[in-house]
Symmetry: C2
Subunit: 318 residues, 2 copies
């Protein structure tokens, strides 16, 4: 495997088509008026299992033979990749071994169980997660499917931008949030293959700014104790995603926690859709004037919609 | 004016097309699995001003000449018709005089103000609302646009089913919530004109069941102290909507308050869209087994999405 080319991304799109949604692309006159741009929102919050992660997980799992899948697949994840992988595995009638920190949100644990995933809980540290997964893989012979540091995952995530650009035709800017960099690297590849003149800009919480620092210091710097309401963006860039991002992404900007909550609420109120905090990070960057989109066409990928409806951020006590 | 025929409804659709959204029709595999039916949800929560009411208000206002509109339009409403009328009036550069009860939700008052509506507050009784509107109309010469007891409004609301049926081709059942009956009577007309074999079923809160009682007792019975979380459905059928409903609607069923909240939350969680309680009433009827949709195709109009995000019903103290 090497960095996915356009044919690989198109093959991924064809492979996963029966198992995912071609999600709607929505516009909002009210938000355009506020920002001065013309924003097209790709609604991956409405994707199967509630996030773009279903694209990569389906591409990885459906690329494997029945024989390779015989002993199942495994990953450690507290979030959307866990649900997406459990779902993809169930579609291929194989087991998904999911290592989750014992602090994982109830709603995400329920999601994984709902898709038949076999959960092992562990302490909420990266070391405990990796050790526990390693032990399970040795015991079961399952194949590890990493949430982002995997070219098949990257090619799968790249299909969201492929659909969006097919619908938009062209655009001045594409924006996505960045955590481990699977969505960002895939989006950057698709965009630069199809529309080399389009700017690819990532947005990241200030409180988890490893991608920003890595991008501008020119070396891979892992997150140091990240803490953000955007729970999908706590992870650090990987050895496969970082080089793609360094080469193909035009800019990375950071946003405040307050900005994320404000943008999230604006999207709920004006667009009448449910997004999780991570999805709001690109619009937060626009609202905080980190990016000027006046008079420009912008595609934003809303990454997911898995949010605990019992604990909305604007209702939390300070 | 008489009961709108198919040509009148098609003319309304053409008239309002530049000013409203052809809203998305969404399906949800998870909800289909729970209900055993194949449901198509028409997302009027994503309509301009957040509800189907923009259809009727635009049709009424754009049917009038500049001369007729010179002195503005007026209505009393605590809800979505107020916002929709204020928006339609602003598109025609005329005034909208809106009488609102002083207890109206802050978010709806802000919506009316946002569209430039001129608000007069009054005591929260029907008498105070009607008297206040009467006085304003006498003072200003504005034309009253009733929220539902008006054939132009009914023809406008009928265009939601027109779009949905164009997209669906055919369907076994169409379901909508019923308050004053504008959406229901319009939907029934469109459906019986185009697909006479399709069943039209209305759902109503038990706690505001005037339409149910009127339908089954065969005479117009006004609401008696209605009280429901579905704040769009507190009104009673009108003298123009009731006869259409009696003739063209196949059934009206009622649902519990708990059922409405449960259905609302299910739609938020699974479909990742924001709907107001009134929109959840038809699905609540299915979940409470008031209607059997197993193996059937069903169109449901989600009437609106204007909900106060600071006070979600499942977070309320008992």
């Amino acid at each position: 495997m090497s960095i996915p080319d356009l044919n690989t991304i198109k093959s991924a799109a064809k492979r996963i088509k029966p198992y995912i949604h071609n999600t709607p692309v929505l516009r909002c006159a009210g938000i355009n008026e506020i920002t001065g741009g013309d924003i097209f929102f790709k609604c991956e919050n409405m994707q199967k299992a509630g996030a773009f992660k279903s694209r990569g997980a389906c591409n990885a799992v459906f690329s494997l033979t029945a024989d390779q899948l015989k002993k199942g697949v495994g990953t450690h994840s507290s979030g959307n990749h866990a649900q997406a992988l459990a779902r993809a595995a169930s579609l291929r009638n194989t087991d998904a071994y999911i290592v989750m920190p014992e602090t994982s949100p109830r709603v995400k644990v329920a999601g994984v169980k709902g898709y038949g995933g076999k959960i092992t809980f562990c302490k909420p540290t990266l070391q405990a997660r990796e050790e526990t997964l390693q032990r399970i893989i040795e015991d079961t012979g399952a194949l590890e499917i990493h949430p982002y540091n995997n070219y098949r995952i990257i090619a799968g995530q790249a299909t969201a931008a492929l659909e969006m650009l097919e619908e938009m035709g062209k655009t001045d800017i594409i924006m996505v949030p960045v955590g481990g960099g699977g969505l960002l690297s895939g989006t950057a590849l698709t965009t630069k293959y199809l529309l080399p003149g389009t700017r690819v800009i990532a947005a990241e919480p200030e409180m988890a700014d490893d991608a920003y620092r890595s991008f501008y210091e020119g070396r891979l710097i892992p997150s140091n104790n990240p803490k953000t309401i955007a729970d999908g963006l706590l992870t650090s860039l990987g050895s496969l995603t970082y080089p793609i991002i360094r080469e193909y992404v035009d800019d990375i900007v950071t946003v405040s926690e307050e900005g994320i909550i404000k943008a999230m609420r604006l999207i709920w109120e004006r667009m009448k859709i449910v997004i999780e905090p991570s999805s709001a990070v690109p619009l937060a960057a626009v609202l905080e004037n980190k990016i000027d989109i006046k008079g420009k066409t912008v595609g934003i990928i809303l990454s997911g919609g898995n949010v605990d409806l019992d604990g909305l951020p604007w209702l939390e006590k300070e």
